[in-house]
């Protein structure tokens, strides 16, 4: 892709490459959790998406350790070694709500209308060797964002502020684009939040038929199952994501 001559062209390049829609996808990679300079663990992950459904399976070696199923606004997280499941709806008035969480789960897909519209209507200005688009994501609340693009219109960093401009909700960094079987994608994606970083190195990306998507199997009867709105679930998720008790959920 050539160097964009103007902010408008950079935005157009970006939208053409990253907002075309992703009816279904399949991917594989490595997910690492870092806290400061310390790596807290790595999972091999495989995921599939179809419309508004996202299923992620995490492995340690060949062993299935994690299942995440996000269907509509319903989330199910299974921590298999702990025989523990968390389940419930993602509330609309919490963080960015279910559609915001869906975008954060695959932040390379800017095709949802509310995301695309925000990018289309944002202001563009030169930024380093590239461009920066700034605007507001309008969901249940309003969250300011700034999206930095490289000289050729590839995403470098997306910062989403808290509702009403309170602090930073999350910062997403994107690696250099790479050609996969399913199209061009960043080589890696990082989600930064406070001192914690989750990094996904993408090894495979394809666009299979939507019918390939299967959901997680049910939990064993002897598992402990907690509702997502249970304070213990919150404590557990915050602990895993290293979110402070006084911080807003993403």
């Amino acid at each position: 892709m050539p160097v964009a001559e103007s902010g408008a062209k950079a935005r157009a390049h970006f939208l053409a490459s990253y907002a075309g829609g992703e009816p279904a996808s399949r991917g594989a990679g490595a997910l690492s959790l870092l806290h400061g300079d310390v790596r807290d663990g790595t999972l091999d992950v495989r995921w599939a998406t179809e419309a508004e459904s996202i299923v992620v399976v995490g492995y340690v070696g060949p062993v299935r350790a994690l299942d995440v199923t996000f269907l509509g606004d319903s989330l199910f997280v299974a921590l298999r070694p702990m025989e523990l499941g968390l389940a419930g709806p993602v509330l609309a008035d919490e963080g960015l709500g279910p559609r915001g969480l869906r975008f954060l789960a695959r932040p390379w897909d800017f095709s949802p209308p509310w995301i695309r519209s925000a990018v289309e209507h944002g202001t563009v200005e030169p930024w380093g060797d590239g461009w920066r688009i700034a605007g507001v994501l309008i969901g249940e609340g309003t969250s300011p964002f700034s999206l930095e693009l490289g000289a050729k219109g590839a995403p470098l960093r997306l910062r989403i502020g808290g509702s009403g401009g309170r602090g930073t909700l999350v910062t997403i960094r994107y690696g250099e684009p790479r050609s996969y079987r399913g199209g061009s994608m960043p080589r890696w994606v990082e989600w930064d939040r406070g001192p914690s970083t989750v990094r996904l190195a993408i090894d495979e990306y394809s666009r299979p038929r939507p019918s390939r998507l299967r959901h997680s199997p049910p939990a064993d009867p002897e598992w402990t199952l907690l509702s997502l709105d249970d304070p213990r679930s919150r404590a557990l998720l915050r602990r895993f994501l290293s979110i402070g008790a006084d911080e807003t959920d993403p």
Partner: protein, 232 residues
């Protein structure tokens, strides 16, 4: 994390139990499992292959197993950065070593997967459970294998939609293939180079982590202590 040995335990349990009170072929396979589970110690090399639930290429891991019926087991991945697991009934420990994290996760024996604890503590029960088995030939790595499909859900703690199949090694008669299939994926476990020892060596249950490797509790449910639990 701990699921490979869980699958292994369930597979051994289901497969071993299938041959009770049945015709001669079932007796043969029952004998195969009895030879493993009745010895003081059995070791084997393993290859664990798992299908991609979304249609991609399967993943594969090689490792080694030390099984001391009545005492414990150890599984060590031979992959780079692969994990190692020890369940020791006598020492009341359940340990998981993650070289990539340079960390040992520690939990009491009671936190080890129930199926594996049963495999360790009650091997006789494995050999006396009553499961229906049917002869079934399957294609494994491109070749036909004669084996036996085990009725799923026969054990109270088995997922109803999980099925198990096993095949013996043609020469040794010992377990060679065990597969565990769920609606979303399948795990193939291949056992090779079984060694059956007349005497158990508890030193084989020693975790290979370097001295001084930091330890963490294995079970995040520690976080939930004191607040009661909801189970269903």
């Amino acid at each position: 994390m701990t699921r490979a040995p869980v699958r292994l335990g369930a597979a051994l349990l289901l497969a071993a139990s299938a041959w009770i009170g049945a015709a001669s072929p079932q007796e043969d396979v029952r004998e195969a499992f009895r030879r493993v589970l009745a010895r003081p110690e059995a070791t084997a090399r393993m290859t664990i292959e798992r299908s991609d639930p979304f249609g991609g290429a399967p993943s594969r891991e090689r490792g080694s197993l030390w099984l001391l019926p009545g005492r414990g087991l150890r599984y060590r991945s031979s992959e780079r950065g692969g994990q190692e697991l020890v369940i020791d009934r006598m020492r009341e420990t359940f340990l998981l070593y993650s070289p990539s994290e340079a960390k040992v996760y520690r939990a009491p024996y009671s936190r080890a997967p129930a199926r594996l604890r049963r495999l360790i503590a009650e091997p006789d029960r494995f050999l006396s459970a009553d499961l229906a088995a049917t002869v079934e030939r399957r294609t494994v790595r491109g070749g036909a294998q004669d084996g036996y499909r085990i009725r799923s859900g026969s054990l109270g703690d088995s997922l109803p939609e999980v099925s198990v199949w096993m095949a013996r090694d043609a020469r040794s008669g010992l377990p060679h293939w065990v597969t565990v299939s769920s609606p979303t994926d399948t795990v193939w476990i291949e056992f090779r180079d079984w060694t059956l020892s007349p005497k158990a060596s508890p030193a084989d249950l020693k975790l290979g982590a370097p001295e001084g490797t930091p330890e963490s509790p294995l079970d995040p449910r520690e976080l939930l202590r004191g607040e009661g639990r909801e189970s269903r």
